[in-house]
């Protein structure tokens, strides 16, 4: 009860705060989602991508 009341008073009570929180959350969610999916993709395709096998073919000058 106390927690939900605190959350309500902090976030939901004023629409300006609520909408700002939603947009901030959407921004953070977008970044997090992209990062997560990219990490998953890289781990799923480990050893198949150019950045994984680049050292075999390109010598640093």
């Amino acid at each position: 009860m106390a927690i939900s009341n605190a959350i309500y008073n902090a976030v939901f009570k004023r629409n300006s705060v609520y909408v700002t929180t939603i947009f901030t959350g959407a921004f953070a969610f977008g970044i997090g989602f992209d990062t997560g999916v990219t990490k998953f993709w890289d781990s799923w395709n480990r050893g198949k991508q150019w950045k994984d096998i680049r050292h075999k073919y390109v010598e640093e000058s």
Partner: protein, 279 residues
């Protein structure tokens, strides 16, 4: 689990009619003097004789036939002739509780938790829709940007060593001419001594060049897009023959109708190979 049984209770109500002075209800169509069938009010055959409640022959019974014992019962036996009048009897259903289901299993235990949860769900929906809208717009705009192969073609490399001091070179970059001038120290000095703050499009020479001896500009007159002529004009720079705009040795508009200085494209110097990369 609290299930609710609607308990029915029956009550025999007195006939809602006028009561006589003797206490007997006045029911003119009811024959209160009528007597029941002989006996003590019900006939089920006490005594040693044959049961009087055995089904009558017309209602069926057991018969001995050639096939053995056969029991038959007739569905619509004729009336027995015994007629009992029904007395006035009224029943109403009484319920112990009003007819409302028990919603306590479905009600939130706390109003504040419920409220916070509702707003949270709405907000999550908003977050997801905002992300979807943002990525939709972003992806759509990404389809308009140039792809990597186009960007790779949009660069031009120029060998700087082949341009002697005090000479102009005109190359084509993205369909437009680009002037490259290897300026002499005198020209640099001249370009820097001008009081550039009083010019039509005030811009210092330092801001226009990355290396003082190399001046790189788009060769398109800012007035109406003609190509100016090099090493001409009143200021020793460029001169546009179409409408007579004069540019100085830093490519700044000094005279004539041109409103702006000649544009400087994004360029970089590759010192290791002595090359200029435009784009």
């Amino acid at each position: 689990m609290a299930t609710l049984h609607a308990v029915k209770k029956y009550a025999t109500l007195p006939p809602t009619v006028r009561t006589l002075a003797s206490g007997v209800p006045s029911a003119p169509t009811v024959n209160l003097a009528a007597r029941a069938v002989a006996g003590h009010g019900h006939g089920h055959g006490h005594g040693a004789s044959a049961r009087s409640d055995a089904p009558a022959r017309f209602a069926g019974g057991v018969k001995l036939t050639s096939a053995g014992l056969v029991s038959k019962s007739y569905l619509t036996p004729s009336s027995t002739g015994v007629f009992q009048q029904r007395l006035l009897h009224t029943t109403v259903a009484r319920k112990d509780a009003p007819n409302v289901p028990d919603f306590s299993d479905y009600q939130a235990s706390s109003d504040s938790t419920n409220r916070a949860l509702s707003y949270f769900m709405i907000g999550s929906m908003g977050v997801l829709s905002a992300s979807v809208a943002k990525s939709t717009v972003t992806e759509f705009l990404m389809t308009m940007s140039a792809s990597a192969d186009v960007l790779a073609l949009a660069k031009v490399e120029v060998e700087l060593g082949s341009i002697p001091e005090g000479k102009n070179v005109i190359i084509k970059w993205r369909g437009k001419p680009v002037f490259i001038r290897h300026r002499t120290p005198d020209e640099i000095e001249e370009a820097r001594q001008v009081d550039w703050k009083s010019l039509r499009d005030p811009e210092s020479d330092e801001a226009r060049v990355k290396k003082p001896e190399w001046l790189v500009m788009l060769g398109v007159c800012t007035h109406l897009g003609c190509v100016p002529i090099g090493e001409a004009g009143d200021y020793g720079g460029w001169f546009c023959p179409c409408h007579g705009s004069h540019y100085d040795i830093s490519g700044r508009a000094r005279k004539g109708p041109a409103p702006l200085n000649l544009e400087v494209p994004a360029h970089d110097f590759n010192d290791a190979e002595g090359k200029l990369v435009i784009g």
